[in-house]
Subunit: 337 residues, 2 copies
């Protein structure tokens, strides 16, 4: 960590202290590399996300502490989506001159708090001045028992499609913030402070319950599209089954068009996975034990079907990753299909 | 890799192809995480560097292909400095609108070429538009046999201090470029296309030859200072022994003040390490086998001595990380000390 050029801040020592110890961490911050050990028989999972002010976030809409937390969660969500346990976080920060020491401390408070909540450790990084926007580059490493990782390519015809939690809250919060409207605090937190579904991902991997999995970051249709492409299959989704929060339903009652946000909004950070119908009872038990809803929203079909959506009105339409208004093939099809 | 928002470029497929296979790579680009396997009994080494246009580089002075190569080398150098073998690279890119597709392709050419030369694989990353400068965020992972990693804290009194290659070339090239002067191509390449000393680092770790090690990125005095602090020791350096290239000596003959660049210039990416005097013969053999000079430039002393430098004129002065003109303690001391 080269924080020296930012001046002397108390949190440098805080970062070192927070990074000093932890299972599997032989040496954290303070050498050329972090030195780490994975449990025998485990594979390494690594993901990396770049968050750039003006592209991925607007400092006017998110406070620094939430930004720190979210920077961790969006990376940890990728580990969760493989069924892994998050272990090591690395933070690269490019700090513009107008980002105050107080904001930086709040950012680090949030970052370290989230790292700790996920049972991981901050073990390295790089910090410098930015001549332009605030730049946040996070790398997350995790582990998974060898062969238990859940990839996008595992879906096969006849499997159920599940999603955790509720969809569209984050996009709804963002659209209201963008329009200068008031946002319910719970809804706002779904956008500003999402939760990576780590316990769910790990349980699905350990029990071998999920065949293919991804986290919903680009939107339900886009991310399901990634699974379908990687697995060479199609899908039929049931719009009526999509899990929606009370806050989302309240808005939907005023404007049915908002359903689009549940389908294509993105940044839900829920887990989307496929599973054999034989595992339904086990998945019900798991959902109860985690106190997290797992909703069956469709089935895997053959590749030629593409991605189809049965609307509330019973009509089945081809969907593409941008939503049901953009027809990939024939447009309207028979609702009985 | 989210390259979609940059448009359709042929190199997306090149990146996927380059990332598709390799020892220990179970799954590269195309899932939520890369899935990787380290050899049994090895530890994971991870480092992360942020390179920001206007802070770390100037596109007017470095061509895109060299920038791609250097982005790899500066990270791999941190793996080398622990005695590790580089394995997995991750590239985060924030691309400004005025960076052309041709420049991007040259950058990727250089990046992939260097990754391949170091025997590593590009297995993940994240790419998006930048509203400001070009942003390059690289993460490198490597491996080292457990317990063989060479940390900064291993130096002890009486050990020799060695540095590989020559010092000051990179800083000299940069200072001449900055002054609009002509630069010898070899000298320029020392700045634009440094070589991480991977084979040396690995050999030192495998044979247990080095007690403490770091790569020279901030400058000889600053980086030796990191070893001294971590190891709680002092050092006496011999200015006369500093390894200087022919190009550097030619400039030094015109202006003795340029010696400062060999001491404090930085970006040499040579390895600086300490070793027991009993290992001198083995180090000579290793240097010959690698066809790389290893120069003994001083000895480790007790912590109270701090970092001292014996100048060519015989005077011993206390040095600090910024160079010998900034006296840390008493300034001039007896040359016989």
């Amino acid at each position: 960590m080269k924080l020296g050029d930012l001046g002397e801040f108390g949190f440098i020592e805080r970062i070192r202290a927070a990074a000093a110890s932890g299972e599997g961490v032989c040496s954290g911050i303070g050498d050329d590399c972090a030195v780490l050990e994975l449990p025998p028989g485990h594979r390494l999972l690594t993901t990396k996300d770049l968050l750039i002010e003006g592209i991925h976030f607007d400092r006017a809409w998110i406070d620094s502490r939430c930004l720190g937390r979210k920077s961790v969660s969006v990376n940890v969500s990728d580990i969760a989506a493989m069924g892994g346990r998050p272990r090591h976080l690395y933070l690269g920060l490019g700090v513009p001159n107008d980002f105050s020491v107080e904001q930086l401390q709040l950012f680090m408070d949030g970052f370290l708090e989230a790292v700790s909540e996920y049972g991981a450790f901050l073990v390295g990084g790089d910090t410098c001045r930015s001549p332009g926007p605030l730049l946040i580059s996070v790398t997350a490493e995790g582990s998974v028992p060898a062969g238990r990782e859940i990839c996008r390519a595992g879906a096969s015809v006849g499997q159920d499609i599940y999603v955790s939690g509720t969809l569209g809250d984050s996009a709804l919060a963002l659209s209201r913030l963008g329009a200068g409207m008031s946002v319910d605090p719970w809804l706002a937190s779904r956008h500003h402070d999402p939760t990576a579904r780590v316990a769910l991902g790990q349980a699905l991997a350990e029990k071998g319950l999920a065949a293919a999995m991804i986290d919903v970051s680009d939107g339900l249709l886009a991310d399901l599209g990634h699974i379908l492409k990687a697995s060479a299959v199609g899908a039929l989704l049931e719009e009526r089954q999509l899990p929606l929060s009370k806050a989302f339903r309240a808005v939907l009652e005023q404007d049915l068009q908002q359903m689009q946000l549940a389908l294509s909004g993105g940044e839900d950070y829920e887990l989307l996975f496929t599973a054999s119908p034989e595992r339904r009872a086990e998945l019900d038990v798991l959902a109860r034990s985690l106190d997290l809803s797992l909703t069956r929203i469709g089935i895997v079909t053959s590749a030629g079907d593409g991605l189809r959506l049965r609307h509330v009105d019973g009509h089945v339409r081809h969907a593409d990753s941008r939503g049901f208004n953009h027809f990939a093939n024939s447009g309207h099809t028979n609702p009985q299909q």
